[in-house]
């Protein structure tokens, strides 16, 4: 049925009245499924049916953010309390069904703290995390539109269409201080204003879901856990700037997100929330998906638009900006998934509410994907201005295996590193830029003393060189040259003047590259050279890699004192370069050794030495 304003309202209150008793939520994003959530879900499904449990609703949902303990299952009891279980395999799922659901006694093991407060639940106690963008992920089933509607879904669109003029919407978004979450931090309200003020017969709304930064999966979680929030925000943008068509440009590497978006679009059209005459008004808006095909540069807005047009995704010079001349030459609003996901809440709760969260210049919350050498890797949403120390030690449990924290890389291949001395810097757009890193899209890679900064920098540069579209010389040639220099350094063939060369080329790339990819490609080495110059010198002068990552500088040897001749190393060696008889000293043939480190991990007597 197609909703009007009144039927949508009454439908929503009907959904509220039909609240169930106990709800069991199984996190089934891509990562949850990969960790085995399907087995947990099927076990729970069967047990609930077998035991004829009444008033228990089993739901699949998006990501709770506790990636380190997937699959996760949350049991929301009828009295409002809830228990979060982690690492739920089939056996544990069976126990949850028997002891908790049927027996009413929550288990005591595998229980985790509720990660974030629910912003719709006024009485909830404040927690470290505030979920605005992820408000519905892990709460609703993303494949059922009613669940979204029950959580005030499409209420913001209704408010905009009936109670606000386009100017009101622009003012509300501008006053909220919301800035682009793709990384650049451009004020969203101003972007919409420009597009609104450019006269044209046709305008477009585009969602950038080409989340290419390695180590970032915020957008994937939003699209898999709450696709309607993005659709609703795009419709609001369409109404505001006067566009009737929207495109979501999404990576083909996210099949589940694509599937759930397609489902959501079809359902929204059925309900008259997308398509012709939305909610019975004169406003029509339609959304289509366009798939990327594995090109990082297509996350850059002009390249993305070129790719939607069906061409090689090459950037074009700006200005003109897309707001004036975008898709097929028409004015286009282009925002990132996370930016859109925040829009409905800004309209519903008001700009005052939103702008109270965050810092002076950066308002609201930011979602980070914290990965790498961190104990509890996961997806977190924190108010802007939260410090790195808070994130690493209070939310994510510190560094795995008790090693020393060395650096956090934010902003992926375009960003820089944050070192221990800046652990207490409040994270917002400006302060990160001031220390030579950037907000980026929200990937945060934690590195410890076993990580070599030259190796990581080389990894990032290899990525940008490979992903450079080749259109402009500074990026195409500069990137390759810098990569070759870093490669030399990592192989112990570097020279001291290499550091100056890197700085010079990096400076030229920043100034002269055509798009953001080339302009930011030097950031990883500029920032590591600034904070880890000693490490570069050790590689160049002493030919030593303290972290033991640069294989060319490593030699493995066997300590005659400690070797007991157990043969474990020889059996594990893939190239059979370790000779020795049982209970006799073993020796590594250095000419054959490929430095894979298998012998090092195999030896239980600490006899294999790295150095």
């Amino acid at each position: 049925m197609k909703f009007t304003r009144d039927t949508l309202k009454s439908h929503r209150s009907g959904l509220h009245a039909a609240q169930a008793g106990t709800t069991v939520l199984v996190g089934m994003g891509t990562c949850g499924i990969a960790a085995g959530a399907k087995a947990a879900f099927q076990t729970l499904e069967k047990a609930i049916a077998d035991k004829k449990l009444k008033n228990v609703v089993l739901k699949k949902t998006g990501c709770l953010g506790l990636c380190f303990s997937e699959p996760t299952v949350e049991v929301k009891n009828a009295n409002g309390s809830s228990t979060v279980y982690g690492n739920v395999d089939a056996a544990l799922a069976e126990r949850i069904a028997v002891e908790h659901l049927a027996g009413g006694k929550p288990l005591t093991e595998n229980v985790y703290e509720q990660p974030a407060a629910d912003i719709f639940n006024q009485s909830a106690s404040p927690l470290k995390q505030t979920r605005i963008v992820l408000r519905n992920c892990a709460v609703i089933n993303p494949e059922i539109i009613d669940e979204y509607i029950a959580r005030d879904g499409y209420a913001a669109l209704e408010k905009a269409l009936f109670d606000m003029t386009p100017d009101d919407v622009v003012k509300e978004i501008t006053d909220s201080g919301l800035r682009g979450r793709g990384g650049a931090g451009f004020p969203t309200g101003r972007k919409w204003q420009f597009t609104k003020n450019t006269p044209a017969d046709q305008k477009y709304i585009v969602c950038n879901a080409d989340e290419g930064d390695p180590g970032a999966y915020m957008d994937r979680s939003v699209l898999e856990g709450d696709p309607h929030s993005v659709l609703e925000a795009m419709a609001i943008a369409g109404y505001t700037v006067g566009a009737s068509k929207g495109f979501i440009y999404i990576r083909a590497e996210y099949p589940l997100a694509i599937e759930r978006l397609n489902t959501a679009i079809a359902q929204a059209k059925q309900c008259g929330l997308l398509g012709e005459k939305i909610l019975g008004t004169e406003f029509s808006f339609d959304i289509e998906l366009r798939l990327g095909a594995g090109a990082f540069v297509c996350g850059e807005e002009t390249a993305l638009l070129t790719s939607i047009e069906g061409n090689r995704g090459m950037p074009v010079p700006r200005p003109p900006f897309p707001a004036v001349k975008g898709l097929w030459g028409k004015p286009t609003v282009i925002n990132n998934v996370e930016t859109y996901a925040a829009i409905p809440i800004v309209l519903l709760k008001g700009s005052k509410w939103f702008s109270r969260i965050g810092t002076e210049t950066s308002k609201g919350t930011k979602v980070f994907a914290v990965t790498g050498k961190i104990k509890n890797s996961g997806l977190i949403e924190v108010p802007m201005g939260t410090t790195l120390r808070e994130i690493i030690y209070n939310i994510c449990g510190g560094i795995a295996s008790g090693r020393q924290f060395k650096a956090a890389q934010t902003g992926g291949p375009s960003g820089g590193c944050i070192t221990p001395e800046f652990l207490d810097t409040p994270i917002d757009y400006e302060s990160l830029q001031a220390i030579g890193s950037m907000m980026g899209s929200g990937g945060m890679i934690i590195m410890d003393e076993d990580d070599c900064m030259i190796d990581v920098t080389k990894f990032y540069l290899e990525f940008t060189v490979d992903e450079s579209c080749g259109k402009c010389a500074p990026c195409r040639i500069g990137g390759r040259t810098c990569y070759n220099i870093l490669d030399r350094i990592s192989k112990g063939k570097g020279q001291l003047d290499d550091l100056q060369k890197l700085k010079d080329i990096g400076h030229a790339m920043r100034k002269a590259s055509l798009c953001g990819l080339g302009q930011t490609a030097p950031n990883p080495f500029m920032s590591t050279m600034k904070y880890f110059e000693e490490e570069y010198r050790a590689h160049i002068v002493d030919k030593k890699c303290a972290a033991g990552k640069c294989k060319e500088m490593l030699t493995y040897s066997i300590d005659a004192e400690k070797c007991v001749g157990c043969t474990a190393c020889a059996r594990r060696c893939p190239v059979s370069c370790i000779a020795g008889e049982v209970k006799k000293l073993h020796v590594i043939d250095q000419s054959k050794c490929i430095k894979c480190g298998q012998c090092f991990t195999a030896c239980k007597f600490d006899a294999v030495k790295k150095g």
């Binding site: 990562c31 990969a34 290419g212 095909a293 090689r312």
Partner: protein
């Protein structure tokens, strides 16, 4: 004559998209979904149907990482080389698979059973290192498990 022919389903898909702007990449996705790659003769047929030069199709196919010009193995292995997976030993998985399969990246085993590629971040960083076989995701992979994973798909 080659064995690759546009199926009725593909032709109707192309006709459905023919008049939409920016259709080429969507059509190529559909073609690759069916054949596993973009066969040369099919590219010529698509060029005729969409009325674009073959050179443009070649340009687009070679620009994007996902499009392939050669036939992959029956089982496609993708090893994630995103930052988190790299830090946690994604490269070791590639090296170990190379030894077990006898072929390196972007090549097909002589029996046509497997092909392997390194891919960009697939967004399961919490489970690093990650690999996929025919789209099925395996998380926290250790080199010791690779034999079992390969056996699961071999000959199927």
């Amino acid at each position: 004559m080659s064995e690759n022919k546009l199926t009725a389903e593909l032709i109707s898909f192309i006709n459905e998209w023919k008049n939409k702007q920016g259709n080429l990449i969507m059509v190529l996705h559909k073609v690759q979904e069916h054949f596993g790659y973009i066969p040369r003769e099919i590219a010529f047929e698509v060029a005729d149907l969409l009325d674009v030069p073959v050179a443009k199709i070649y340009g687009v196919v070679t620009f994007y990482h996902l499009f392939k010009l050669t036939k992959p193995g029956r089982n496609q292995i993708s090893v994630c080389m995103g930052t988190a997976c790299y830090l946690k030993g994604g490269e070791d998985i590639i090296l170990d698979l190379e030894r077990q399969l006898g072929v390196g990246l972007n090549a097909v085993t002589p029996d046509g059973e497997f092909s392997m590629e390194a891919v960009r971040c697939i967004g399961c960083c919490g489970l690093a290192p990650v690999m996929t076989v025919n789209g099925e995701v395996f998380g926290s992979v250790k080199t010791a498990q690779l034999k079992t994973i390969l056996a699961k798909f071999r000959g199927k």
